[in-house]
Symmetry: C2
Subunit: 112 residues, 2 copies
Amino acid sequence: MRRDIFQAIADPTRRAIIALIAVQAMTPNAIADQFHSSRQAVSKHLRILTECELVSQKQQGREIYYQLQINKMKEIDKWLEQFRKIWESRFDNLDKYLALLQKNKAHGKGSK
Amino acid sequence: MRRDIFQAIADPTRRAIIALIAVQAMTPNAIADQFHSSRQAVSKHLRILTECELVSQKQQGREIYYQLQINKMKEIDKWLEQFRKIWESRFDNLDKYLALLQKNKAHGKGSK
DNA sequence: ACTTTGTGAAACCGAACGGTTGCATATACA
DNA sequence: TGTATATGCAACCGTTCGGTTTCACAAAGT
């Protein structure tokens, strides 16, 4: 039973749930109404999201409001950081440089 | 057979492969040597990564170099954008504001 | 031509996934 | 107290996942 944030966001329904409760906390029934999923299916998704601490519960009478723990989302951002470095350097510098070389070559200025 | 980028990065081995070939293109055998995975297992991962266009192949003799298509990684970044907005506004403003309120309250300046 | 090397693909297997069905529990309302 | 509502949980089911084993094929070396 793998249960990390990357596995949690792998499912499209769970991504939709995350986006939904990011705006405001909602109950399982209210969430299920938004999709073509049953209440139980949503409940299972919420269980998974809770297990990896992406959402938290807030009991209110007999209703339970689920809230996104937005801080947890930063873990994805953190992982992405290493690649952001690459695409910022590689595409803004190296790639343009290569394009420039290619252009010069085509104009007969390639061999210094 | 779902095959989107979020499903692709769900597996920890695939994330490791992605990080590995982000630095430089590598052959399946070279990649497999870095892990405790068999060559065939790596091959299957590369297949999945190729299917969702996260990596591309570059034949060189009988060797095939796999290269990360870093542009595709931006899709994750793009999806994350909606949440980045939230955590930047919510935590940099509201949270600091609440912390300030708390601080003032502790000092006896809470009620106006 | 034969062998070695690098690779992909198919068949299979146990485990996990996503969903449904049915039941249990707790709160609200009459 | 009885009933409706809101929810979680366990059992089951078909599908997918990640891995191994085996085979096929093409390029390189002898």
